[in-house]
Symmetry: C2
Amino acid sequence: MKRIAIDMDEVIADALAEYLQRYNTDFNAKLTKQDVIGKRIAELAPAEHLTRLRSYFHEESFFRDLEVMEGSQEVIRDLMDRYEVYIVTAAMEVPCSFTAKFQWLERHFPFLPPDNIVFCGNKGIIAADYLIDDNVYQLDRFRGEGILFTTPHNFYESKYNRVDDWQDVRKLFLDSPE
Amino acid sequence: MKRIAIDMDEVIADALAEYLQRYNTDFNAKLTKQDVIGKRIAELAPAEHLTRLRSYFHEESFFRDLEVMEGSQEVIRDLMDRYEVYIVTAAMEVPCSFTAKFQWLERHFPFLPPDNIVFCGNKGIIAADYLIDDNVYQLDRFRGEGILFTTPHNFYESKYNRVDDWQDVRKLFLDSPE
């Protein structure tokens, strides 16, 4: 059975929506996902907003109530019939997120055994056939086949095979004979 | 550069000493490491102690103040000159341990980058050349070369190459030409 490792933020959990919402609320702004195509929010925000902007990611509450990316639950459940599925998230960058991330997975992906959850830093340590991730720098370190999950900041990347949403993941891994 | 993955409990952190100390305090007992050679404490304790005994591992405080295994800091620092070193612990079994384990590593192994820390369940997901672990079932799932770190419960195992302490690890990985 082949093994697929799947990232959390911006792949199964909509961290960008939360980020934009916090920014818009704090600074009375109206940034949308369209506005950040090919960019990081930090490039669009005035310098005096950056400290606050960077702090969002270091608040435990940030990770508690993220929206689930559309279709990810159904597709992952189906993937589990044909692949070993692991959720692999770079939680070591944000130690305050450990418990919130684990509980979020328990709540939204209760069918996924805790044995198949990995909190790491460098994803080069992951032994899997595929890694679905929105970060090119993690795909670069991974030893298997990297698949880029489209999110605004990676919109113009052309280095990896790309999936735009969970229906694309289904097509790639399930809509073909074994 | 070859990569070594190293377990935490009973390899760099003396979880067994803490376990025995809690048991002895709670039940006015005098169990030592000698007493549990080839056994689990649960096999020696009366049935009415088991619920309490099993609860130790699910208390965050358990992981806060574990003693560092003798020589592990010096040898790991030296290993880092010649190998990529990752600490890989099965923390998903005990979600309450996440923060305590991370802070313990920050305190006792400050020279180890957070990028090289992994909290997982099944260690079959780890891409490394070697795994030093006291658990045969984790070594069985690992794809690289497993090295059994001696601790009382695995005393009679003969399936893996074995190291008895950190000086043995030094001999195996450092006392030979590159």
